[in-house]
Symmetry: C2
Subunit: 213 residues, 2 copies
DNA sequence: TGCGACATACTGCTATGGCAGTCGGTCGAG
DNA sequence: CTCGACCGACTGCCATAGCAGTATGTCGCA
């Protein structure tokens, strides 16, 4: 009996992913299996395996016998990220909107309220996490594990990027967009409307980013 | 110097994935790290790591201290697979169609011709592989590695499923659909048309499957 | 001064041995 | 006869040690 799964490999994966997402392992920095193993209090092997999985996810890039480095964000990567999100999430919300239950809409309503509040009070971290949960909630509405896993990967990359972005720039509210139209599209169960709102939401993010890069 | 990357772990991953895709490791069968290591002529550790990655991809499910079993197809899984493909590929082709070059169209034309020939001559294996290449080519047109990786995962699952499907049923051409409308949509650079054609292509596959399950 | 070969120290990678948990059969008690 | 506890054999899992490359600093030579 343990926290979750008893495998040290999985715990290492989760803990390292946590550190990657909150930038304690910052983009561009090199990581060392030995020191990570010491910090986590386990052997080097679970760490090695966890890093291999994280490399498969794209969070780190392992140079075969030189070292492992935390993936940093190039302009092209960020563009690809937004494009991939646009393709996947627009397609997903197109289906999800038509199947939304009243409970789904209510839950989304609450989340959007939280996001709006964080946005109004200029708390970017809270906004980012809530935005992440909103988008993840939308794809989870389909109850499709394949789709959810794929979307979660992209959304985690997105979360990491924005945290990195806000960590260097000063937080200004214009970089935090609303979800009103998206919510409205889902509330009316219109796949086309929701897809259109999602596309606008994502492309707007990309647009205001491009102006500041 | 070696075939590709010199890491035994990667070779094990590729070789095992190959065996999973061509059903030499058939759905439902249990695999043993020791015997696989003996067959591949390497140690147990690279095999263990490769299986962990394959589990992350969903091709095998590892029962923590009981064994590793090749993932079999439930009706729900297949439905999820088609739904995920619909969401992702429709969103992708919507963007890809608008950016298609003449070379892209020509290459797609050739691939579609090959697929049609395989379909006419009732060679399901050739059809499946070409269909895989067609769909992968479409998402690769965007040059987006994030999107390509996500789509490739789904398409590999799709390939494995259909091979499993045709391995038990007798091949009959009605289960092999054409790509004419999809190609036409891309040729005219119409995102909406291409998306519509893709959606029809995928939902038709799902439809004829549901009738035979 | 510049350059090429070499030694060294660093990294991740792999092999091996042994550990931990789980299942199946067996034996004994009720 | 039935049920429960035990014991053995199986699995994946982990730790340690040593291997294999790579980069870097150093020395000798032109």
């Amino acid at each position: 009996m343990s926290a979750s799964t008893m495998r040290a490999s999985d715990r290492a994966y989760e803990q390292l992913r946590e550190r990657l997402l909150d930038l304690r392992l910052s983009p561009g920095s090199v990581v060392n299996e030995q020191s990570l193993a010491n910090e986590l209090g386990i052997g080097r092997m679970p760490v090695h395996e966890a890093l291999a999985r994280l490399a498969s996810d794209g969070f780190v890039t392992v140079l075969p016998r030189r070292g492992t480095v935390v993936t940093s964000f190039t302009l092209e990567d960020v563009r690809n990220l937004f494009e991939a999100r646009e393709a996947l999430e627009c397609g997903a919300v197109h289906i999800a909107a038509q199947r939304a239950t009243d409970a789904d809409v209510a839950a989304l309503d609450d989340l959007v309220a939280v996001a709006d509040e964080a946005r109004a009070e200029a708390r970017p971290e809270d906004y980012l996490r809530t935005d992440f949960e909103i988008h993840l909630f939308v794809v989870r509405m389909l109850g499709n594990s394949l789709l959810t896993d794929a979307a979660e990967r992209l959304l985690l990359h997105n979360l990491r990027f924005w945290r990195f972005y806000f960590s260097t720039r000063r937080a200004h509210g214009t970089a935090m967009l609303g979800h009103d139209e998206l919510l409205a599209g889902i509330r009316t169960r219109s796949g086309d409307l929701a897809e259109q709102a999602m596309r606008k939401h994502i492309t707007d993010s990309r647009g205001l980013l491009q102006a500041l890069f």
